[in-house]
């Protein structure tokens, strides 16, 4: 039975081969949509939405944000953004009091659930936003306050 490393190195070889013949899946598309530097430098919700060319979001019960009430450490805060509405284009995660508000932006296709989780850094206790940008131009959000504590020594 292959161990993990062998399996992974095999996949890397496959990927390298595909890249060599210009068939690297996904990356070409990812690079085609240029990295939105202004959006990731924006400090306020208004600035982020402007950089994304989108309307200001309206609060909606159809968008959910999951996360802890208290994060023991701001370096790793699990956050989930989801909506049950059809026709989602993008899901965004933002931390209001971070130096730049936008943490992550996911382009949703019909092939996945509009339900994505990741972990973000929070500089301090803050409101965290899940924003859903819909295909029809509507922008909706849900918000949750997450407190960040400083742990002590040890542990």
């Amino acid at each position: 039975m292959q161990n993990r490393r062998e399996m992974l190195s095999h996949s890397v070889k496959v990927a390298a081969m595909l890249a060599a013949v210009g068939l690297m899946p996904g990356l070409a598309q990812a690079q085609a949509a240029a990295y939105n530097t202004p959006a990731f430098a924006a400090k306020t919700l208004a600035e982020v939405m402007k950089a994304l060319g989108a309307a200001m979001p309206a609060e909606s019960k159809d968008v959910t944000i999951t996360g802890p009430d208290i994060a023991e450490n701001g370096a790793v805060v699990p956050v989930g953004a989801a909506t049950t509405l059809p026709g989602v284009k993008r899901l965004l995660m933002m931390v209001e009091k971070n130096p730049a508000m936008l943490a992550a932006m996911f382009n949703v296709t019909d092939a996945i659930d509009a339900n994505i989780s990741t972990r973000v850094k929070m500089g301090q206790s803050s409101d965290v936003y899940a924003v859903a940008m819909m295909n029809d131009g509507k922008v909706l959000f849900a918000r949750k306050e997450i407190k960040v504590t400083l742990g002590g020594c040890g542990g």
């Binding site: 161990n3 208290i70 504590t149 742990g151 002590g152």
Partner: protein, 273 residues
């Protein structure tokens, strides 16, 4: 009652609103301890320690060093190449080196004798760099191969018993500018520093606690911490010089804690704040 309320309406209203706020806060945010427990649970799935585990497994099998050999012939106490359950029985006495060794000390032995790497050089290398980061990755994987097993650190050999006593002495030895010892923080039940519980290490503190919680990934600095690094940081916090990587004193402390933790379930590699 209502008469009193009429007589002192402001106070009653203030009291009532204070109670409502407390109740509301309690209902929404739970106690801080519950909140922290929920946070830790959310992080359980997807422990970055997995990355180090995978790296360690690869390193065990990879031909490296001047001798271009793998570590698959390394004896961790259960026979050459037998990794499952080895962590739960360390530190222990090894006949070939005629001394008690913990996991990281034993890895140095194997990396030197099998692969031709320099144990002294690795011991001098700071944590997180060069071969030290490889030792940490190896320790992470080897500990993971004892996941779910209960600690059973041997005391059958006279040297193993001597090291236990040495470890006990080291544990209670006060020194440094703060006159701290390990016991200052770890010899009483129910102690904590801010939000961190301090496990009682003079006996078995419970499954997955204390000795049984390491190696662990620390989210606060994104580092993988082996037991040697954990000890290093304890000494740093005591403002006490670190006795040196895989030194007798650190192995002895591992013996003391490991024997005390007999029967505790190992959860390594764990996740810490």
């Amino acid at each position: 009652m209502s008469r009193q309320n009429e007589a002192r309406p402001r106070r009653a209203i203030l009291l009532a609103s204070a109670m409502l706020v407390c109740l509301a806060a309690g209902a929404q945010t739970k106690s801080p301890a519950d909140g922290i427990a929920e946070y830790r649970k959310m992080l359980e799935d997807g422990n970055p320690a997995d990355l180090f585990e995978a790296k360690g497994e690869a390193l065990w099998k990879q031909r490296r060093g001047p001798k271009s050999a793998s570590l698959e012939a390394c004896d961790l106490g259960k026979g050459p190449g037998n990794v499952k359950g080895a962590w739960a029985e360390m530190p222990r006495y090894f006949a070939d080196t005629a001394r008690v060794q913990d996991l990281e000390s034993r890895l140095l032995t194997c990396m030197e004798t099998l692969q031709g790497l320099s144990a002294a050089e690795i011991a001098k290398t700071p944590f997180g760099r060069g071969e030290q980061s490889n030792v940490t990755a190896l320790a992470t994987w080897i500990a993971a191969e004892s996941r779910g097993m209960r600690f059973n650190v041997p005391q059958g050999h006279a040297e193993e018993r001597r090291f236990y006593e040495l470890g006990k002495r080291a544990f209670f030895f006060r020194g440094g500018p703060m006159d701290f010892s390990c016991a200052t923080c770890h010899s009483e039940e129910g102690k904590r520093i801010r939000l961190q519980d301090l496990p009682l290490l003079t006996k078995n503190p419970g499954d997955g606690i204390g000795f049984a919680a390491w190696p662990a990934y620390r989210v606060s600095n994104g580092e993988m911490w082996s037991m040697q690094l954990r000890l290093n940081d304890c000494f740093r916090q005591q403002r006490f010089p670190y006795p040196g990587f895989a030194s007798e004193a650190t192995i002895a402390l591992g013996s003391y804690m490991g024997v005390n933790a007999k029967g505790a379930l190992s959860i390594a590699p764990g996740l810490k704040r």
